[in-house]
């Protein structure tokens, strides 16, 4: 039991590393010291938080296959926190868009969400992630019972929307989004194959 607590602390630390690094670089920027945020920090933060959001979504989707393939059943105890970190980085991503990039210019923001399919997909993915984050507590799991599992299957759709959003926003170099898409295809493909065998 104690070991699990230590492991959870370790996962928290690892999951917060990208955020801590970003904050540190932001601190350097505000103090006019050399930093890694490039000459266009807002765009850099946008790509950085978006990429980490997708990585945590993929990591959350990897828990079940890893459990089943390697028999690591305890992994399930980390799934909620991984999912909530995905939500955390998604929130940073959206905040950067709304606050730093468009500075609460709601008319422009709304126009972009409606007019650009890539942004529409991203926005829908974020909205769908909200009920999952809210119902991640033990109380909600108990209250929703079987419906909880059904509700949380939304993450498959969220993952698909997220990688589509990702590849659509890229100008020409689709290397990174293709890695994300491939990983997602493997993770969803595993579930599909597994389900067939059961039937």
């Amino acid at each position: 039991m104690k070991r699990i607590i230590y492991l959870k602390i370790l996962v928290h630390i690892v999951a917060l590393l990208p955020f801590c690094w970003l904050s540190w670089q932001g601190y350097l920027l505000m103090n006019d010291q050399s930093n890694e945020l490039t000459a266009n920090p807002i765009q850099f933060i946008h790509h950085f938080t978006g990429n980490w959001a997708i990585r945590f979504i993929l990591l959350g989707l990897a828990i079940t296959p890893l459990r089943k393939i390697f028999g690591w059943n305890r992994l399930i105890q980390f799934r909620r926190m991984i999912g909530l970190y995905a939500f955390f980085y998604v929130t940073l991503h959206l905040s950067n868009f709304v606050i730093l990039d468009y500075y609460f210019d709601w008319a422009a923001i709304l126009k972009e969400i409606i007019k650009r399919p890539a942004i529409t997909f991203g926005m829908v993915a974020i909205l769908l992630l909200i009920p999952l984050a809210i119902t991640s507590t033990k109380g909600w799991i108990r209250r929703l019972q079987k419906n909880w599992i059904k509700l949380h299957k939304l993450i498959y759709g969220i993952g698909i929307l997220a990688v589509i959003h990702n590849i659509m926003m890229v100008k020409a170099d689709i290397f990174m989004p293709m890695i994300h898409i491939t990983l997602l295809a493997l993770l969803l493909g595993y579930r599909f194959a597994f389900r067939e065998r059961q039937a």
């Binding site: 920027l29 505000m30 006019d32 490039t38 000459a39 266009n40 920090p41 807002i42 765009q43 730093l100 990039d101 468009y102 500075y103 210019d105 422009a108 126009k111 972009e112 007019k115 650009r116 890539a118 659509m168 926003m169 100008k171 020409a172 170099d173 290397f175």
Partner: protein, 327 residues
């Protein structure tokens, strides 16, 4: 580099020093001499220093270019983007697709000796050495806005030669309706070319009247120094009223042709990038708005200007054209 949330009175050294490398005393004298010689030929030339005159250390480390004439036919009273930002935030896929890649990787490019091939409908075709190509011309400094199609912008003091002067010397024939430019292809020198992210070589083109327009510059330097490799050394195009991707870098070939060429980005995504690529806030990129832009170093977006603010000079080139169709 900085986000302006702090008080305006907090002027930091980084805001004022880098721009001034070429405004030191020695350079002032050189320029004055050159102005004396060249003023008559150039017309309305006047030396006009920005308010920050303090000579200070610069991040710049390249070779200083001598005898630059400051051309103030197109004055621009906007704060210049720092040398550091101009030389570390680049789109130059030949050296990698991240903005910081070119500055990290472009050292492998050898810019001397450098040959420029001139062919097509032209009276003086041939393989020209870069120095022979440039030597007959005066170098001018032009401070231009640079608007990237990705909705960010800079203000850059280029050093170069009006492309029209170069073209006049090459004497294109009446069949020449367009000029096509090509970038070097060399996987060893340009490691980004090991992946076919776009089809190499990078190709750009201008209609003849655009190429001959006095604003169009063949740049060999910035901030008074030779172009850093990541900015397109030894020679790159600058067309300030068009999106930045028209400014083809590390040019090895100029071809004079009759038909409109297919430029690299249009070849990749013809619904997103056109041949003309004029900066136009009313014609959006399909995936993002072009109505506003972020000036590098500023926090809030600013409105994008038609033809990037050069409408008085260039709008007449496109009279009667549907700019929504010919974007």
């Amino acid at each position: 580099m900085k986000i302006n949330i702090k008080k305006q009175s907090d002027v930091k050294s980084s805001e004022i020093t880098p721009e001034n490398i070429y405004h030191n005393r020695r350079k002032f004298i050189q320029d004055s001499i050159k102005i004396g010689v060249g003023a008559a030929a150039l017309g309305s030339v006047a030396l006009n220093f920005p308010e920050a005159l303090a000579s200070g250390a610069s991040d710049a480390s390249g070779k200083t270019l001598n005898n630059i004439i400051r051309n103030n036919i197109y004055p621009l009273n906007e704060k210049m983007t720092s040398y550091e930002a101009v030389t570390t935030y680049n789109n130059f896929y030949e050296f990698g697709t991240d903005k910081e890649d070119p500055a990290l990787n472009a050292h492998s490019l050898k810019t001397r000796p450098w040959t420029i091939k001139i062919d097509g409908h032209v009276e003086k075709p041939g393989d020209y050495d870069i120095d022979d190509f440039i030597r007959p011309h005066d170098l001018e400094e032009r401070i231009y806005r640079m608007r990237c199609v990705e909705a960010w912008s800079m203000v850059i003091p280029w050093v170069g030669i009006p492309l029209a002067d170069i073209i006049k010397k090459l004497k294109p024939t009446s069949n020449a309706k367009y000029v096509v430019f090509e970038t070097l292809v060399d996987k060893e020198q340009m490691p980004g070319q090991r992946r076919e992210v776009i089809k190499w070589p990078y190709v750009e083109g201008l209609r003849m009247d655009e190429a001959m327009h006095p604003l169009t510059l063949m740049a060999v330097g910035l901030y008074g120094e030779e172009l850093p490799n990541q900015n397109g050394a030894p020679m790159r195009l600058v067309v300030p009223w068009k999106y930045g991707f028209k400014g083809i870098k590390s040019i090895v070939r100029m071809r004079f042709v009759e038909d409109e060429p297919n430029n690299s980005w249009r070849r990749l995504a013809p619904n997103e990038y056109g041949f003309f690529a004029n900066v136009n806030p009313t014609v959006d990129h399909p995936r993002w708005s072009q109505a506003s832009e972020r000036r590098i170093g500023e926090f809030r977006r600013r409105e994008t200007l038609m033809f990037n603010g050069y409408g008085d000079e260039v709008a007449s080139l496109y009279t009667g054209m549907d700019l929504k169709k010919y974007f």
